[in-house]
């Protein structure tokens, strides 16, 4: 398989206070290049660990992982990672924060112009010289989004990027993310608590169980592209898929509605 992501029989154990915590159990999945995939599940389902393994931040313990045919390692130019908290450097302006990342990818053409375009696309025109302290949480996460896509990586790993935002800002940024994805056509793996977000953004939603993380369901979302998350909110198909997935979740895991975050 050329390109794409292959995860085969991956298990992972953390040592925590002298006890072994089994976070991932025999996970196998394949993601086609260019696909937008969401990993959902309750806290402790190991979705972030899986993302850490894909981005090479956590070493693989058992099983096999291939990203574009190669084993992952941190700092690969064809992978980009976005964190739950914005991880902006407070001593750098919005522009400089994006530049800080983009300069690690040599050979990008017209980097400065590309950064300004990206900042513009996420709605930060006029805020290029502003420091993170002066920006709201939503605006900081926009900078982080621009930074992630400034790397122009074929594989983008997002960990709860909008988890801390209010509902309105979230919708706005989800649409920005979709627009960036339409432009770059990267393979995206999005970790989220939010089932609504997963359905609205993804081609495919993978539902994981709580500890140890196992795959409970793998559902294709056939809503037409390009999508607008805002417009989807009033669309019947979206809500049908959402409730179908919700029921499937509850049946598969015998979960109470509270154990999976609502969107």
């Amino acid at each position: 398989m050329e390109g794409g992501i292959v995860v085969e029989r991956v298990s992972h154990v953390y040592a925590q206070r002298g006890r072994n915590v089994h976070v991932l159990d025999d996970i196998s999945l394949a993601i086609r290049h260019g696909q937008f995939v969401a990993l959902v599940g309750p806290s402790g389902s190991g979705k972030t660990t899986l993302l850490d393994i894909l981005s090479g931040l956590v070493p693989l313990q058992a099983g096999d992982v291939l990203v574009a045919g190669r084993a992952p390692h941190a700092g690969r130019p064809d992978t980009a990672r976005m964190f739950a908290r914005d991880a902006l450097l407070p001593w750098l302006s919005a522009y400089q924060n994006v530049y800080f990342a983009a300069r690690t990818r040599p050979g990008l053409q017209e980097r400065e112009k590309a950064i300004l375009t990206l900042l513009n696309e996420v709605g930060l025109h006029g805020f290029e010289r502003v420091y993170p302290r002066q920006l709201s949480q939503g605006m900081r996460q926009r900078v982080a989004l621009a930074r992630t896509f400034s790397l122009q990586s074929a594989y983008v790993f997002l960990d709860e990027p909008f988890g801390a935002l209010d509902a309105q800002t979230k919708l706005l940024l989800q649409d920005k993310l979709l627009a960036l994805w339409e432009r770059f056509r990267s393979t995206v793996v999005l970790v989220t608590h939010d089932l609504g977000e997963a359905v609205a953004l993804s081609d495919r939603v993978i539902v994981m169980s709580s500890r140890p993380g196992r795959i409970l369901a793998d559902v294709t979302i056939d809503l037409p592209r390009p999508r607008s998350v805002r417009a989807l909110q009033t669309r019947r198909e979206y809500h049908e898929i959402y409730s179908r997935l919700w029921r499937e979740l509850e049946r598969a895991a015998g979960m109470t509605p509270e154990s999976v975050g609502a969107g």
Partner: protein
């Protein structure tokens, strides 16, 4: 933004604050003067503003206080620079090598817990009555204050920033220069600000004991001759110097760290 609203309120009350502070100062001086004049507290103990203020001006005019100020400030500056550079170099080594840091940590703690002022007589035995023992006394305070602050600053690196740097493929050296150092800068400045004031303290303490020409020696001289007005005149100089140095550091800090 709350910060700017606060600032707006401060600037609206600016005139009131300045006048209010001057009034407080005036009341303080007036009460002091009254206590001394009415002999409620003997003027021999607390001095008398109407005597030591002219005394102060006269000694500034004839240059004798200026010599003392220069003497004290030169030693302070030397101790600040030498102690500061030594502290930063030590912090660099200890941050680069966690193993060495772990090794020497208890010794640094112990040295820092030691009241350095108590060492001053020993410094005078070792380095004589001259400028050197004053500088060493200043260094003994400056070095540990800045070392502590710098290590704490370097230790406060946000784990998210390290993860980001790793995901970008930055080398250990680049992580140090582009993440650890900028993170530590505010703590380093706090250390420099505090260290400067304490260096002055260290130098003046050595002068109190060793004599010579500095401000501390002047205090020692005036108190030994029961001249409270002389003591207060020199103390006033020290207060102004110390305050000015601290403000200067705050100003430089503000200029260099606009992002805060």
């Amino acid at each position: 933004m709350p910060a700017s609203a606060e600032w707006g309120a401060a600037s609206r009350h600016f005139g009131f604050i300045v006048l209010g502070r001057l009034a407080l100062l005036g009341i303080g001086v007036a009460v002091w003067e009254a206590l001394a004049r009415t002999d409620v507290v003997p003027a021999a103990f607390i001095g008398q503003p109407s005597i030591f203020l002219p005394f102060l001006l006269a000694h500034i005019a004839d240059g004798s206080l200026l010599v003392a100020i220069r003497e004290t400030l030169t030693a302070t500056l030397a101790a600040f620079v030498i102690g500061g550079i030594a502290a930063l170099l030590t912090a660099l080594v200890l941050t680069a090598s966690p193993l060495i840091k772990q090794l020497v940590d208890p010794f640094i703690d112990a040295m820092n817990a030691l009241p350095r002022v108590a060492l001053v007589p020993l410094f005078i035995v070792w380095f004589g009555l001259g400028t050197l023992s004053k500088i060493v006394s200043g260094i003994s305070l400056m070095y540990f204050i800045l070392l502590y602050n710098t290590l704490a600053g370097a230790h406060s690196v946000d784990p998210d920033h390290i993860q980001l740097a790793r995901s970008l493929g930055l080398s250990r050296k680049r992580i140090f220069t582009s993440i650890v150092v900028p993170t530590a800068i505010p703590a380093i400045f706090a250390g420099l600000r505090l260290g400067l004031v304490y260096t002055l303290l260290g130098v003046v303490t050595a002068e109190l004991i060793a004599g010579g020409k500095g401000l501390g020696s002047q205090i020692s001289y005036y108190s030994n001759t029961f001249d409270a007005n002389g003591v207060f005149a020199v103390l006033l100089v020290l207060v102004i110097l110390s305050y000015a140095l601290a403000r200067l550091m705050t100003y430089v800090e503000g200029r260099l760290m606009r992002w805060r």
